[in-house]
Point group: C2
Chain length 404, copies 2
């Protein structure tokens, strides 16, 4: 029997207990031994809940119990999760987590401690919820040099953009509705400003490129600037808009960014709608691959944590994670990153197209009858810096969205 | 240094050599040791090719060389691949393969021999080419009870259906074009009749349900009966048609089938086009997940084989694959499998709809002006047996396609 402790009995923690209870027979078979949850750490008590008899309030009880081999840290936040994880790994216990803040900030160090102590630090649930992506990157795509990872990594913003697209609604209205349905937090900043996606792409990029990608270095733009009018244009072009988090190797430079981008119908990311997430990966021999599924939610996330527990049970005393070096990966300045831009400008095609073409090149105007006094166009591929300069030169730009 | 032998220097075999040469530094890093191809077994010689110095014609040289720890069997076909694999595993060597015929037929036995000899038998490349699906099923979706796997598992037929859909062409014309482009074999039977997809879903189902699913037991229908006229109706309904290979657990019964099915726009399989493959999985806690990528092709397939080599190098003397029991999984009779059917009948709605409704229920007629003397409709959910009985009762059915 392998004794496990769960740190935190919130949404994910209670999900982990539920998953391990529900699927115990197949989980035990796959782990090769019975998995038993011995402790659940929480500040609260849960009288009447069967978990109550396992509740402890003091982490040291878990740390000092030599029977505990695996700890699922599902508390969230950097502290005290960081201290607890470090102590556990130093004591030779394996830890798995859904905590993206902690992995993004201290992943390299914690992986190294795990390696030095023949234990494991796994974090499948930190990116893409239930979607297997960390383990495939670590153990399936090992014959490839990864040159691109692009993810729809945040379910809340994908839900909002999908609703805006389908109903033509404004951002603020859909956000309110999403909050009422529980798809968005009361304080939605981490989601809608792209911070959540940013931490996740930092983790995926660090793993793919083998060095520390600091989330602070990633240019991050949320979806708050996307309007119903923008979406009308995008729709008229037969495309859609998604909040993409990506890192890409171009001529030896690695660019990383979180921003809304326009996605065409032939792109596998086009039809990833609602709260679903997807991660597109390009390998130099594999070509295109994509992983799709529930990016959040109690049970999908708990499924990923529980799968990490099984993997750790199978690999007691054997480190299996590639670790990424704590050495910092210097991202290239995005000002030299090049792509097409969809631009909405004030003016009308008859009188202003010439000026637009003088600045932006031979673009084709996109005119929506209901959007008076403006038109849109898609530029050729140009650098961020070149775009910025041209936009300033034209002056009256209403909005711009990058095109994948 | 870990010495490897490659059996077969055909398309996949030469791809494996190429991938290991191209990405040697990252592969060696991930394997934890240098991977070296010591032998390539082939009946032919390759004068002038750098591989010539590694070519051997006698398998026993490989079998009897204790330095060889890992063998990539990429010959295809049951014999002599089966004999070679068995001997290698019994000698404690690990084997990986892209050989779906062999895995579908003898996978359970070979996995058991590997387990008894502390070696590994891996076959990521046997299903879905470069798409990681075997390893995720084995080591990521371990907390779930899988209740459905549905795949677009054959690139040739998906290419043909995509072209038929996009160009309105007939099956025979697109097949010829696909053969000219090298996307279809001169003898296309294994692809277009669904036999290839059948073997792959047998492997995936055996792994997911833990017991031997015999491909001979799976009802298999190819795409040769799909016409340009069928596709016109499907298009008019805003849907598409895909060759799906699936197994599904319904009320404790497991149904498996390979057949063309109509797929709606909200289905993640809808936009899997051209030679791409995808595997949709539903787990009882995970919910929906999908894995997408290149289902065939030299380098994507070789990428999967090389990733298996890396995994075997990391796990010398440690068996890591779940094995499926050789005990046969009895599939439920598909006559009780229930779904909707799209049906094209002779007649016209004015005079014949009443008869149709008496037999099939309150269906809505779908009329295409260019298809004179016929109309289509979609039934309610009914069993295969009930459909068959009703179709016989009506008599003049032109075609029917199942609806996912």
């Amino acid at each position: 029997m392998i004794q496990v402790a769960v740190l935190g009995y919130g949404t994910v923690g209670s999900g982990v207990v539920e998953v391990i209870n529900t699927n115990s027979s197949s989980i035990n078979k796959k782990a090769g031994e019975e998995i038993n949850i011995k402790y659940v750490l929480d500040l609260r008590d849960f009288p009447g809940d069967p978990v109550q008899e396992k509740i402890v309030h003091d982490f040291d009880i878990i740390l000092n119990d030599p029977e505990i081999r695996i700890i699922a840290e599902v508390m969230g936040g950097v502290e005290p999760a960081y201290t607890f994880t470090k102590k556990a790994l130093l004591a030779g216990k394996s830890v798995c987590t859904s905590n993206k803040e902690l992995v993004a900030r201290h992943g390299a160090e914690l992986l190294q401690i795990a390696r030095e102590n023949n234990s494991n630090y796994l974090f499948e649930a930190s990116c893409g919820g239930g979607i297997p992506i960390i383990r495939p990157l670590n153990s399936s795509l090992t014959a490839d040099e990864i040159d691109e990872i692009t993810g729809i990594l945040n379910g809340t913003t994908n839900y909002i953009l999908t609703e805006m697209f389908e109903k033509g609604s404004d951002f603020a209205d859909v956000l309110k509705e999403a909050q009422d349905k529980g798809y968005a937090e009361r304080n939605p900043e981490a989601d809608v400003e792209g911070y959540d996606a940013c931490r996740k792409i930092a983790i995926l990029s660090s793993l793919a490129f083998g060095r520390q990608v600091s989330f602070e270095d990633i240019y991050t733009e949320g979806i708050t600037g996307i309007t119903a009018a923008d979406i009308k244009y995008v729709k008229a072009m037969g495309k859609t808009v998604k909040l993409l988090a990506y890192s890409r190797k171009v001529d030896g430079n690695i660019y990383a960014m979180v921003a809304p981008e326009i996605v065409g119908v032939d792109d596998p990311l086009y039809s990833v709608n609602g709260v679903f997430n997807a991660i597109f990966v390009h390998g130099n021999v594999l070509g295109d691959a994509m992983f799709y599924g529930s990016g959040a939610g109690k049970l999908p996330t708990a499924s990923a944590v529980a799968a990490d527990i099984v993997d750790e049970a199978r690999h007691l005393n054997k480190n299996i994670m590639s670790f990424w070096s704590p050495e910092k990966l210097e991202l290239a300045d995005i000002s030299s990153s090049a792509k097409k831009f969809f631009v909405r400008v004030k003016g009308n095609p008859e009188t202003d197209l010439e000026k637009v073409r003088t600045i932006f090149g031979m673009v084709q105007p996109i005119v929506l009858p209901e959007q008076e006094g403006e038109f849109g166009f898609i530029t050729d591929v140009m650098s961020e810096a070149a775009y910025k300069e041209k936009a300033e030169q034209y002056g009256e730009v209403i909005n711009r969205i990058r095109v994948r």
